[in-house]
Symmetry: C2
Subunit: 192 residues, 2 copies
Amino acid sequence: MKLLEERILRDGHVKEGNILKVDSFLNHQMDIALYQEIGKEFYRLFSGCGVTKILTIEASGIGIACVTAQFFHCPALFAKKSRTKNIDGEVYTSQVESFTHGGSYQIMVAKRFLTPDDRVLIVDDFLAKGNALLGLMDIVDQAGASLAGCGIVVEKGFQEGGRIVREKGVRVESLAIIDRMEEGKIVFRPQE
Amino acid sequence: MKLLEERILRDGHVKEGNILKVDSFLNHQMDIALYQEIGKEFYRLFSGCGVTKILTIEASGIGIACVTAQFFHCPALFAKKSRTKNIDGEVYTSQVESFTHGGSYQIMVAKRFLTPDDRVLIVDDFLAKGNALLGLMDIVDQAGASLAGCGIVVEKGFQEGGRIVREKGVRVESLAIIDRMEEGKIVFRPQE
């Protein structure tokens, strides 16, 4: 997505340790006009797939999921991160390794919001090692729902997440794929 | 907001300890058509106030902020909750007491996204004791930004948050105010 790549080049910053900061428009301050273009593009890619629910994970996926859901005219749903056992009982849970924060955390979705009738589009802001995505896919699987695919805003193509998920036969559409970041310079993978 | 009150009566559940569960449409699964009506109503109430930024707190405020920001044609911004000190340095922080989880947590907003030129509308899904709102107001204040007001989806009118914030001279618009919950029955405060 040209508009997004241009925005990353203009306003993104590469920090030490190959960390890409896009917090001025994507995951802290949120440029809603850009979000609408992102949602529209996910709709272009996944319309006709019978999507009934947009699933994401808190926190920075939520805005993307909500704006995207407007195009699909379906509900959005976010998996909650929790450190404590949920007392409600009626939840699907999955364990996610955290690269950013170290250790692992549990994600959960109430069972009544994901059923075998659902056709799910997972969306998230970043795909790197893929752990959050695998956790969400695990929950879709537990629910007996079917997965239309994954819509990612920025994929770090030099990390293994995208490969792992695609090798499972899952359709992953990333609006920008970063092949490498060298000396602060961002190089995108060509996509048509 | 009639539509919201009807929805709360239809799909909300009062659980032990006066806890209102609205997770089927507001803060876990999100009914985006309802979100759009909420955003439209906040715009009706606060348009003409010169709002330049919608501020909220993660996680469940984010979707509301994003959908609302579409009507104001301005960015949305969410305060991050953190248990660790931010190493970036350039952040405003405030301490928030947590009723739900016990203890307290720190919220933070990068300084460069909130300036004295900003006119801020704070939005959130719930207002009860008001601690999160007071933390967000503290950050707006630290930034030297001005506050247009607070847009709340559901206010628990039997808790003190709404009174405390209004007594500070802040305009608080709550789309539904619950005066009491008795034996599972929800009673709304009449609003014109």
